[in-house]
Amino acid sequence: MLKLKEGFVLRQVARETVVIPSGNEINLNMMITLNETGEFLWDYLTRGTDAEELVAALLGEYDVDETTARSSVDAFVAKLNEYGFLQE
Protein backbone atom coordinates (compact mmCIF):
# COMPACT_ATOMS: atom_id res chain seq x y z
CA MET A 1 0.00 0.00 0.00
CA LEU A 2 1.38 3.39 -0.99
CA LYS A 3 -0.14 6.28 0.87
CA LEU A 4 1.18 9.70 1.67
CA LYS A 5 1.62 10.67 5.28
CA GLU A 6 -0.75 13.30 6.58
CA GLY A 7 0.45 16.84 6.37
CA PHE A 8 1.85 17.26 2.88
CA VAL A 9 0.29 19.74 0.52
CA LEU A 10 0.86 20.82 -3.04
CA ARG A 11 1.70 24.47 -3.53
CA GLN A 12 2.45 26.66 -6.47
CA VAL A 13 5.80 28.33 -5.88
CA ALA A 14 7.48 30.40 -8.58
CA ARG A 15 5.24 28.78 -11.22
CA GLU A 16 6.28 25.32 -10.05
CA THR A 17 4.21 22.74 -8.19
CA VAL A 18 6.04 21.79 -5.04
CA VAL A 19 5.26 19.47 -2.19
CA ILE A 20 5.69 20.98 1.23
CA PRO A 21 4.89 19.69 4.70
CA SER A 22 2.03 21.52 6.35
CA GLY A 23 3.50 21.00 9.83
CA ASN A 24 5.27 23.53 11.99
CA GLU A 25 8.58 23.34 10.15
CA ILE A 26 9.23 23.53 6.44
CA ASN A 27 12.44 21.98 5.25
CA LEU A 28 13.38 23.72 2.01
CA ASN A 29 15.76 20.91 1.15
CA MET A 30 12.99 18.35 1.39
CA MET A 31 10.75 20.04 -1.15
CA ILE A 32 9.99 18.08 -4.29
CA THR A 33 9.03 19.91 -7.43
CA LEU A 34 6.48 17.86 -9.36
CA ASN A 35 5.87 18.00 -13.07
CA GLU A 36 2.45 17.40 -14.64
CA THR A 37 2.78 13.61 -14.45
CA GLY A 38 3.87 13.78 -10.84
CA GLU A 39 0.80 15.85 -10.01
CA PHE A 40 -1.32 13.22 -11.75
CA LEU A 41 0.11 10.45 -9.56
CA TRP A 42 -0.05 12.58 -6.43
CA ASP A 43 -3.84 12.28 -6.32
CA TYR A 44 -3.58 8.49 -6.26
CA LEU A 45 -0.98 8.60 -3.52
CA THR A 46 -3.12 10.93 -1.42
CA ARG A 47 -5.99 8.48 -1.25
CA GLY A 48 -3.83 5.34 -1.13
CA THR A 49 -2.76 3.12 -3.97
CA ASP A 50 -0.18 0.54 -5.01
CA ALA A 51 2.51 0.40 -7.67
CA GLU A 52 0.32 -1.67 -10.01
CA GLU A 53 -2.44 0.92 -9.97
CA LEU A 54 0.04 3.71 -10.62
CA VAL A 55 1.49 1.85 -13.58
CA ALA A 56 -2.01 1.17 -14.92
CA ALA A 57 -2.97 4.82 -14.47
CA LEU A 58 0.09 5.94 -16.41
CA LEU A 59 -0.56 3.47 -19.21
CA GLY A 60 -4.15 4.71 -19.44
CA GLU A 61 -3.28 8.38 -19.47
CA TYR A 62 0.06 8.66 -21.25
CA ASP A 63 1.69 7.22 -24.32
CA VAL A 64 4.29 5.12 -22.52
CA ASP A 65 5.28 1.44 -22.52
CA GLU A 66 4.84 -0.71 -19.42
CA THR A 67 8.53 -1.21 -18.73
CA THR A 68 9.19 2.53 -18.69
CA ALA A 69 6.10 3.22 -16.61
CA ARG A 70 7.03 0.57 -14.05
CA SER A 71 10.64 1.68 -13.65
CA SER A 72 9.55 5.31 -13.40
CA VAL A 73 7.00 4.49 -10.71
CA ASP A 74 9.63 2.53 -8.78
CA ALA A 75 12.04 5.47 -8.94
CA PHE A 76 9.32 7.91 -7.86
CA VAL A 77 8.28 5.72 -4.93
CA ALA A 78 11.91 5.34 -3.89
CA LYS A 79 12.31 9.13 -3.91
CA LEU A 80 9.17 9.61 -1.82
CA ASN A 81 10.42 7.01 0.65
CA GLU A 82 13.82 8.69 0.82
CA TYR A 83 12.11 11.97 1.75
CA GLY A 84 9.83 10.22 4.26
CA PHE A 85 6.64 11.18 2.45
CA LEU A 86 5.02 7.72 2.50
CA GLN A 87 3.36 5.94 5.37
CA GLU A 88 5.13 2.84 6.68
Binding site: V13, N24, I26, N27, N29, G38, L41, S72
Partner: protein, 154 residues
Protein backbone atom coordinates in the same frame (compact mmCIF):
# COMPACT_ATOMS: atom_id res chain seq x y z
CA UNK B 1 9.73 9.18 -17.54
CA UNK B 2 10.17 11.57 -14.62
CA UNK B 3 7.54 12.83 -12.21
CA UNK B 4 9.64 15.31 -10.32
CA UNK B 5 12.42 17.77 -11.02
CA UNK B 6 15.70 17.59 -9.23
CA UNK B 7 16.45 21.24 -9.67
CA UNK B 8 16.97 23.12 -6.47
CA UNK B 9 14.86 26.21 -5.93
CA UNK B 10 16.64 29.44 -5.15
CA UNK B 11 15.85 31.40 -1.99
CA UNK B 12 14.62 34.17 -4.25
CA UNK B 13 11.98 31.84 -5.67
CA UNK B 14 10.75 30.53 -2.34
CA UNK B 15 10.91 33.86 -0.51
CA UNK B 16 7.12 34.41 -0.67
CA UNK B 17 6.59 30.95 0.81
CA UNK B 18 9.16 31.60 3.55
CA UNK B 19 7.60 34.93 4.45
CA UNK B 20 4.12 33.40 4.49
CA UNK B 21 5.14 30.48 6.68
CA UNK B 22 7.08 32.64 9.12
CA UNK B 23 4.09 34.96 9.44
CA UNK B 24 2.01 31.91 10.40
CA UNK B 25 4.44 31.26 13.25
CA UNK B 26 6.11 28.33 11.55
CA UNK B 27 9.83 27.72 11.11
CA UNK B 28 11.82 27.11 7.95
CA UNK B 29 14.88 24.90 7.71
CA UNK B 30 17.47 25.20 4.99
CA UNK B 31 21.12 24.50 4.24
CA UNK B 32 23.11 27.72 3.86
CA UNK B 33 25.73 27.85 1.16
CA UNK B 34 29.28 29.09 1.32
CA UNK B 35 32.06 29.11 3.87
CA UNK B 36 31.51 32.46 5.54
CA UNK B 37 29.91 30.92 8.63
CA UNK B 38 32.59 28.34 9.26
CA UNK B 39 33.38 26.75 11.64
CA UNK B 40 29.78 26.84 12.85
CA UNK B 41 28.02 25.95 9.62
CA UNK B 42 29.55 23.54 7.11
CA UNK B 43 28.18 23.70 3.59
CA UNK B 44 25.92 20.78 2.64
CA UNK B 45 26.24 19.30 6.13
CA UNK B 46 24.69 21.74 8.60
CA UNK B 47 21.36 23.50 8.37
CA UNK B 48 19.63 26.33 10.17
CA UNK B 49 16.11 26.80 11.47
CA UNK B 50 14.63 30.20 10.81
CA UNK B 51 11.79 31.99 12.56
CA UNK B 52 10.26 35.40 12.06
CA UNK B 53 12.31 38.46 12.99
CA UNK B 54 11.58 39.60 16.56
CA UNK B 55 10.94 43.28 17.35
CA UNK B 56 14.51 43.79 18.54
CA UNK B 57 17.68 42.19 17.25
CA UNK B 58 20.80 42.08 19.36
CA UNK B 59 24.51 41.44 19.12
CA UNK B 60 25.40 37.83 18.25
CA UNK B 61 22.00 37.19 16.64
CA UNK B 62 22.23 35.36 13.34
CA UNK B 63 19.74 36.83 10.86
CA UNK B 64 19.04 36.03 7.23
CA UNK B 65 18.93 39.34 5.41
CA UNK B 66 18.76 40.54 1.88
CA UNK B 67 21.21 42.99 0.41
CA UNK B 68 19.93 45.74 -1.83
CA UNK B 69 21.31 43.83 -4.83
CA UNK B 70 18.98 40.94 -3.94
CA UNK B 71 21.61 38.61 -2.49
CA UNK B 72 20.61 36.65 0.62
CA UNK B 73 23.13 36.64 3.44
CA UNK B 74 23.30 34.74 6.71
CA UNK B 75 25.80 36.58 8.89
CA UNK B 76 26.10 37.37 12.56
CA UNK B 77 25.31 40.76 14.06
CA UNK B 78 28.53 42.00 15.63
CA UNK B 79 27.38 45.52 16.43
CA UNK B 80 24.07 47.32 16.86
CA UNK B 81 24.14 51.00 15.98
CA UNK B 82 20.74 52.58 16.48
CA UNK B 83 18.52 51.34 13.70
CA UNK B 84 21.22 49.56 11.75
CA UNK B 85 23.39 46.54 12.30
CA UNK B 86 26.93 45.55 11.45
CA UNK B 87 27.08 41.97 10.31
CA UNK B 88 29.93 39.63 9.60
CA UNK B 89 30.39 35.94 8.86
CA UNK B 90 32.18 33.94 11.54
CA UNK B 91 34.86 33.10 8.98
CA UNK B 92 35.31 36.70 7.84
CA UNK B 93 37.15 39.72 9.13
CA UNK B 94 35.55 42.50 7.06
CA UNK B 95 32.35 43.81 8.64
CA UNK B 96 29.30 44.87 6.69
CA UNK B 97 27.88 47.95 8.38
CA UNK B 98 24.55 49.63 7.77
CA UNK B 99 22.29 46.58 7.46
CA UNK B 100 18.78 47.88 7.98
CA UNK B 101 15.89 46.36 9.84
CA UNK B 102 13.79 46.25 6.66
CA UNK B 103 16.42 44.01 5.04
CA UNK B 104 15.95 41.33 7.69
CA UNK B 105 14.04 38.30 6.45
CA UNK B 106 14.32 35.83 9.33
CA UNK B 107 16.31 34.94 12.40
CA UNK B 108 18.12 31.69 13.19
CA UNK B 109 16.63 30.10 16.30
CA UNK B 110 18.51 26.84 16.07
CA UNK B 111 20.77 24.83 13.84
CA UNK B 112 21.64 21.27 13.03
CA UNK B 113 25.32 20.30 13.27
CA UNK B 114 24.99 17.13 11.27
CA UNK B 115 22.01 15.42 12.83
CA UNK B 116 22.26 17.09 16.20
CA UNK B 117 20.00 20.04 16.87
CA UNK B 118 21.14 23.03 18.91
CA UNK B 119 19.09 25.97 20.08
CA UNK B 120 20.73 29.37 20.00
CA UNK B 121 19.74 29.74 23.65
CA UNK B 122 22.15 27.00 24.71
CA UNK B 123 24.98 28.26 26.97
CA UNK B 124 27.61 26.54 24.84
CA UNK B 125 26.48 28.46 21.78
CA UNK B 126 26.55 31.75 23.69
CA UNK B 127 30.13 31.03 24.74
CA UNK B 128 31.10 30.14 21.16
CA UNK B 129 29.69 33.44 19.84
CA UNK B 130 31.48 35.57 22.37
CA UNK B 131 34.81 33.79 22.23
CA UNK B 132 34.80 33.51 18.45
CA UNK B 133 34.05 37.19 17.98
CA UNK B 134 36.56 38.22 20.66
CA UNK B 135 39.49 36.41 19.05
CA UNK B 136 38.54 37.22 15.45
CA UNK B 137 41.29 39.84 15.04
CA UNK B 138 43.89 37.58 16.58
CA UNK B 139 42.84 34.78 14.27
CA UNK B 140 43.12 37.08 11.27
CA UNK B 141 46.58 38.28 12.33
CA UNK B 142 47.70 34.70 12.89
CA UNK B 143 46.48 33.68 9.44
CA UNK B 144 48.19 36.65 7.77
CA UNK B 145 51.38 35.96 9.69
CA UNK B 146 51.39 32.34 8.61
CA UNK B 147 50.86 33.33 4.98
CA UNK B 148 53.64 35.93 5.21
CA UNK B 149 56.04 33.39 6.65
CA UNK B 150 55.08 30.86 3.99
CA UNK B 151 55.77 33.38 1.23
CA UNK B 152 59.06 34.67 2.60
CA UNK B 153 60.61 31.57 4.08
CA UNK B 154 59.60 29.02 1.49
Amino acid sequence: MDFYKNKEMQLEQVLPLIVEQLALGKTVRFYPRGVSMLPLLRENIDSVVLASVPPALKKYDLPLYRRDDGQFILHRIVRVEGDTYTCMGDNQHIPEPGVRRDQMVALVTGFYRGDRYHRVTEPGYAIYCRVHCAVRSLRHLWRRGKNWLRRHLA
